[in-house]
Symmetry: C2
Amino acid sequence: MSAATKPASEVDERPRSAGRPRVGILSRRLIGETALRLLDEDRDTGFRMSDLARALGVRVSSLYNHVENKAAVFAEIREILAERIDGEATPDPRWDRALRTWAHAYRAAFAAHPATVAYLSTLPLDANSTVGTAYDHLASQLQDAGWSAAESMSVIVAVESFVLGSALDASAPPDMLDPGQRTDVPRFSGAYHARRELAAAEGVTPADLAFALGLDALLEGLRLRLGAHATPSR
Amino acid sequence: MSAATKPASEVDERPRSAGRPRVGILSRRLIGETALRLLDEDRDTGFRMSDLARALGVRVSSLYNHVENKAAVFAEIREILAERIDGEATPDPRWDRALRTWAHAYRAAFAAHPATVAYLSTLPLDANSTVGTAYDHLASQLQDAGWSAAESMSVIVAVESFVLGSALDASAPPDMLDPGQRTDVPRFSGAYHARRELAAAEGVTPADLAFALGLDALLEGLRLRLGAHATPSR
DNA sequence: ACCTGAACACCGTTCAAGT
DNA sequence: ACCTGAACACCGTTCAAGT
């Protein structure tokens, strides 16, 4: 977290009396950023509204002047992550490369925040959400490349589904699938350990391997499909 | 829900006094099945332990004789769904068709239960879990077809990630991505409505279209990759 | 407009008492 | 061993009072 987003109240330790402060302390954005930082620091427990208030040097009830409820905090987090993804994804004239860059930035942003993945995929988009803008850019590229309008939407959603599932996988405890001492599943056990060793040898996580292989296959399959029955616009 | 799994206590309305009943009323499995039914009936709110108790004709505290906590109820749900998937997936000698059948059964089982998706991907597998057995079957087929042990694991995880992400998508409110009255995202808006109309015309959901397209592409890409640099075992 | 302090509501979990 | 009844703990949310 950058110093710029650190609430001044964390430095100033003196208790504040009731009443409106001269300069505003909180904002929806600051609350979202702080919540995201808390999720980063403590991965599995999630944050409480009281944690959030303490980190902001404020009482819990103050938060409700800026967000309707806890779900709204998650919505704000989604906006922040969406903007981060948008900023990182460098535009690429080739639709498949653009999708790939987007997918990588997307997964990276969410893998660090498992608790947000389920929320993200369930909450309706806000009007004027940045997410919508990103979709528009990708949809344009896909349609220009020859995908039909309906297909372009399916392609985006399919890649997004793969990314979100992969983010869940990447955020799961590393030993989640560990067959342990079981002897009744030898091929699975062998596969599990082989992937783990391969990942270690390449200096990445097992989840990274599955993501890379899956994304490559998915994009390759999409390229093939476009080539097979597309009608390029020019 | 079948009559066989319906708790007798739902028929017998008379209040029960304290003390051990002659015949056991609850079991871990029955609790899991009932929780799953509650999730089916009320999609978004999730179930409370008190709901669960009422549905079983029992007091809340009784549940804790059979499950450690609410998370354990979700773990039991996962086992139930896993067995259901296993039962439905008919074996197929071709690895890609087997994966496809598995993916469809998997998504169908979880799309109806959004709340379980996030849990499922985070909870460690129980020893002797049915999930492990399913992995073993798939890993065997993949390795016999020429995939390396490490790759076979990545393939399974990649398909699973796509399935889980798609299940999240399928369980989201249908208007989640609706651009509404926005005029700044014309290509996205066009794509959104085109997909919706195509889905309506084909009698499926928009989520179904994206899932079908993505799964086809993913499997096609995997087939290609195996053909390109595989060393079949025979 | 925006913060404090106190209260309320909800819900998961525990535990002694009872058979 | 397994159910009841009552209590506790935690946490999200509300609201009047204060500047």
